[in-house]
């Protein structure tokens, strides 16, 4: 028995949806879920899929059905279709139905957004600082003092509020496992909230084009048990909080509490190898790009300093200390063979104090001999 074309079409659409929807939902779309925010976002996406698949299948069904049923057959070369100019009732339906759907989806999306971003009791503040091409993370301890690291450590189950800063261009702090990202904007502090809820090691990605080394601006986030986190934090050296800008007058851009101490030229203390090591792994951010066995860093953007400094100084024809100093302040003066020029920021001469640079030189010279 022949059915009406609309009935046939609805049947095809229903079958298509019945096949398409399970496939769409079965695809392993997401990476690991490591924050409570991620659960809500993944659910939102699956709801969007459930709404979208029937719409797409519907459009596809009409096109394919029309091609199948209404294609020109031999002998119809001069034939036209019926002169249907419109149908007001149908047009009202396909204006109103999407409108209702959109109101519902926006409302749902708003509730997810609110739940993800609402202030939670007992939040721990972690400062995130981006610079070409490294991340570092500071955990305020006492006013003006922080623990500074290049890898992010977070306790499971405790809400975190990230205060995000940039020292040069715009970066974007992106943790795919948390489903969260936010720009690090020079001059302002941006705020992002997450509650890690799964132990493990996940990647931190810079997701805003920031220059030649953009693809290598990565770090990792380690979600630990609260006890392990406290043990880790207690072991870290406390140092003056780094500033958030390249301003030569020191101090940060709009200061978060506690106010960061000046990173500027007033930095006291003598140049020592120990201080150099702290700068290398901490505020200087060197280890993000350079491997150095003594400092325990494994960055792979630039040369391995433990191996390459001595031979490269010979190639350059400079004493080791002078070569290290030049390489920090004028990185393009000598490029290690096999590495591109212009990747290493050329601003360390301004952002680090003379004492800090001396410390770094002393440290690097001491561990590469």
């Amino acid at each position: 028995m022949r059915k009406h074309p609309v009935v046939q079409l609805l049947l095809i659409g229903a079958i298509g949806t019945a096949i398409g929807l399970p496939i769409a939902l079965a695809i392993p779309w997401f990476p690991a879920q490591a924050a409570t925010q991620a659960h809500r976002i993944d659910t939102l996406y699956h709801v969007l899929l459930i709404v979208s698949v029937p719409i797409f299948v519907g459009v596809l069904s009409v096109v394919l059905y029309s091609v199948w049923k209404f294609r020109m057959k031999p002998g119809e070369e001069g034939k036209d279709g019926p002169p249907i100019h419109g149908n007001t009732r149908l047009e009202v339906v396909w204006t109103a139905a999407p409108a209702i759907l959109i109101v519902a989806l926006c409302t749902y999306a708003y509730t997810v957004l609110h739940a993800n971003e609402v202030t939670k009791p007992g939040e721990r503040t972690v400062n995130v600082i981006g610079e070409q091409f490294a991340w570092y993370f500071t955990y305020p301890s006492s006013p003006g003092k922080s623990v500074v690291t290049q890898q992010l450590y977070l306790p499971k189950g405790q809400p975190v509020v990230f205060k995000i800063h940039s020292r040069d261009v715009i970066h974007e702090f992106f943790v795919p496992a948390f489903r969260l990202q936010l720009a690090a904007v020079p001059g302002i502090t941006t705020t992002l909230r997450a509650t890690p809820d799964r132990l493990g090691v996940y990647s931190v990605v810079c997701n805003q084009l920031c220059g030649n080394g953009h693809a290598t601006m990565r770090a990792t986030v380690h979600v630990l048990t609260p006890a392990a986190f406290q043990a880790w934090l207690a072991k870290q050296p406390v140092q003056p909080s780094p500033g958030y800008s390249f301003s030569s007058t020191g101090g940060g851009a709009p200061a978060p509490a506690p106010a960061p101490a000046p990173s500027g030229k007033a930095g006291n203390g003598s140049a020592t190898a120990a201080a150099g090591k702290a700068i290398f792994t901490g505020s200087g951010g060197c280890g993000a790009c350079h491997t150095l066995a003594d400092a325990g860093t494994t960055g792979a953007v630039g040369p391995n300093l433990g191996i390459r400094l001595v031979p490269d100084a010979k190639k350059r024809g400079l004493p080791l200390a002078a070569f290290i100093n030049e390489s920090i302040t004028k990185p393009n003066a000598f490029i290690a063979p096999g590495y591109p020029a212009g990747v290493m920021p050329q601003t360390f001469g301004q952002t680090l104090t003379a004492t800090q640079i001396q410390s770094l030189v002393a440290y690097l010279a001491s561990v590469t001999k």
Binding site: V63, K79, P83, E172, A183, G187, N207, L209
Partner: protein, 635 residues
């Protein structure tokens, strides 16, 4: 020789290039001397000024402004005798010509040239991305590749190719002999190759081409090497071209319609270009402004975007993005609405039915124009702007789906119970309908803030924009080029090769861009030359498919070139269409219409017995026929 150097043309243009460079050189040296700058010879400053001066001198040398100069100087102008109209040989396309049909073809061919270049750059990117690690290019070269790829395809392909197609067919469709301002039309065209060559020339600049993406976010763009200046200035030339053409379309549509051609008897392509032109004239000055800010920061140290300098440290980095997207979001409609117009033409003719809901189709275009200006900050959900702005932007973004949905549903209803001719233009139109729906759906998903926060700037975005700009815009462009090819060239294309082109493009397109949704959600960032091992398999598949996609273009090129040279002669109206451009010979006569047509009915009265859209009689002679009662608006 002297005569050649004095007459408008390429010799004089070359001479003026030299003069323009000397002018830029002298000006920079003079100013730097007066300001006690050392050294007085500064390659960076000279290049920047030369990039402004040389193109302007070139245009004057080529002769686009001779008439205006004579007029402004009070000399006797040389009135257009139209002897240069039409193109007899291919050489005529390399001269300044004021004939809208010649300019239309100049536009289309130039744009497709840049499509090929942009596509080749994409192939290079995909070659690098086929495996993790760095193989062929350095990171800075890679950043240059995707920046130039996107900039060329947006500013030198999608936007101008629509202007080119409309340039050819729009005056014909409304029964006009030419555009309202033919000389301005010629100027608009000649600004384009300048912009394109400037972008390409940036590869030769010290430090490489511009490498901050087509978005050129400050302060990255204010701190990059000289190549960035090429982008900053090329956008000004492309933008000026856009604005001039849009003004031309608006005036042409408003003032030059044939008798009886009321707004609601206009073909939807005309409506679409009317809407697009409104968007262009309102929005384009904003991208000009954003790039002038960058230029002033770069060249003269204005510190608009330097957050760390000055007593108040008050450079405003996010402002760049607001100004930029206030153009660049409407720009996605600038790149889509003309395609909507093309699809309406093709579907009505090829399904042999009137467009379903003609008036709602026109109103939804206008609704998109208005709403298009209210959604720009949805590109900035993770930019660090004030969080509350996200909510209204989510709502307005989702609302745009309603007029867009009206259009898609109306096209589907137009197909229903039609008599479908499944030739090449129709296949591309149907391909557009399905692929654009996918792109639209992922667009609504992206409007949902929490989801967008996860996938911003990942490959999901890359997939989305290619589904709307490739599966959307480019498919409509192919449909339009095939549909009007007989009218533009007077020859028929090879339909079998056209169908082959469609299927190759359709299949490889989906294998290339479909998986990008998945790897994007899994967290692969865009704009990276290297990526994590977990994405390796999909990237290899994508790269291989993208090479197939690139090769499929060769089928199109061969078809176009071979058919233009030796295809069978086209009849005046091979598609049995009602719109006016098909009522004249293929290609049309030099002045389009031997007699001014009178429009007596709607443009899509297929299936109405004896329906006519226009007749070649004066209004006095034209008597309403019986068919007029069924047309949408007897006005």
């Amino acid at each position: 020789m002297l005569i050649k150097l004095r007459a408008p043309g390429w010799y004089r243009a070359a001479l003026f290039d030299v003069i323009g460079f000397a002018f830029a050189f002298g000006l920079v040296v003079l100013i730097r001397t007066l300001m006690h700058e050392h050294p007085v010879l500064d390659g960076y400053a000279i290049t920047t000024v030369a990039l402004i001066a040389v193109p302007l001198f070139f245009l004057v040398g080529l002769g686009v402004a001779d008439y205006w100069f004579y007029w402004a100087a009070g000399k006797r102008t040389r009135p257009e005798d139209h002897s240069a109209h039409g193109a007899r040989t291919w050489r005529d396309y390399f001269r300044v010509n004021t004939d809208h049909k010649v300019i239309g073809i100049q536009y289309v061919v130039t744009s497709f040239f840049f499509l090929l270049i942009g596509g080749l750059l994409a192939m290079l990117m995909r070659a690098e991305l086929a495996q993790p690690g760095m193989q062929f290019v350095t990171p800075e070269q890679y950043n240059g590749l995707f920046s130039v790829h996107a900039s060329l395809l947006i500013f030198l392909f999608v936007i101008p190719v629509f202007a080119g197609l409309a340039n050819f067919v729009l005056p014909l469709m409304i029964g006009a002999p030419d555009m309202a301002f033919p000389r301005l039309n010629a100027l608009s065209f000649w600004l384009l190759p300048i912009a394109g060559l400037m972008m390409l020339a940036s590869f030769l600049a010290p430090g490489g081409s511009f490498a901050s993406g087509w978005t050129a976010y400050a302060p990255l763009s204010t701190s990059l090497p000289l190549g960035q200046t090429f982008f900053t200035l090329a956008v000004q030339f492309a933008g000026a071209s856009s604005i001039a053409t849009a003004l031309n379309f608006l005036v042409t549509i408003i003032t030059m319609r044939a008798p009886g051609m009321s707004f609601f008897r206009m073909p939807l392509l005309v409506w679409a270009n009317f809407s697009t032109s409104l968007l262009v004239v309102i929005a384009t000055p904003f991208i000009a402004a954003s790039q002038f800010f960058v230029l002033l920061d770069r060249a003269l140290g204005f510190q608009f975007f330097n957050a760390f300098v000055g007593a108040g440290k008050n450079g405003n980095v996010i402002m760049y993005q607001h100004v930029f997207w206030f153009y660049s979001h409407p720009a996605v409609y600038i790149m889509m609405l003309p395609g909507f117009g093309i699809i309406s033409e093709v579907l009505a003719v090829k399904a042999r039915k009137p467009i379903f809901g003609y008036r709602m189709m026109a109103f939804s275009l206008l609704a998109i124009v208005v709403l298009g200006f209210t959604v720009w900050a949805h590109h900035m959900f993770v930019s660090g702007m004030a969080p509350w702005i996200r909510i209204p932007m989510m709502v307005t973004t989702a609302i745009i789906a309603i007029p867009t949905g009206i259009k898609v549903f109306s096209w589907l209803a137009t197909l229903w119970r039609g008599v479908l001719r499944l030739d090449t233009p129709m296949l591309f139109a149907l391909g557009f309908l399905t692929m654009f729906t996918l792109g639209g759906i992922s667009g609504v998903m992206l409007a949902m803030i929490p989801f967008d926060i996860h996938v911003s700037a990942t490959y999901f975005i890359v997939a989305h924009i290619h589904y709307v700009l490739f599966g959307g815009s480019l498919f409509t462009i192919f449909a339009g080029v095939y549909y009007w090819f007989p009218k533009m060239t007077g020859r028929m294309f090879d339909d079998r090769l056209g169908k082959l082109h469609f299927w190759l493009t359709f299949i490889f397109f989906n294998i290339t861009f479909g998986p990008m949704h998945l790897i994007g959600i899994q967290g692969m960032p865009r704009r990276v030359a290297d990526y994590a091992q977990q994405f390796a398999t999909w990237n290899l598949i994508i790269s291989l498919a993208s090479f197939g996609l690139g090769l499929s273009t060769l089928v199109f090129l061969y078809n176009m070139v071979a058919s233009w040279r030796g295809g069978p002669r086209a009849a005046a109206n091979p598609w049995r269409a009602l719109t006016l451009e098909w009522q004249v010979s293929s290609p049309p006569p030099i002045f389009n219409f031997d007699a001014v047509p009178t429009v007596v009915g709607g443009p899509y009265e297929y299936g109405v017995p004896g329906a006519v859209h226009g007749i070649f009689k004066s209004p006095a002679e034209a008597r309403p026929t019986g068919t007029i009662a069924t047309s949408p608006t007897p006005e």
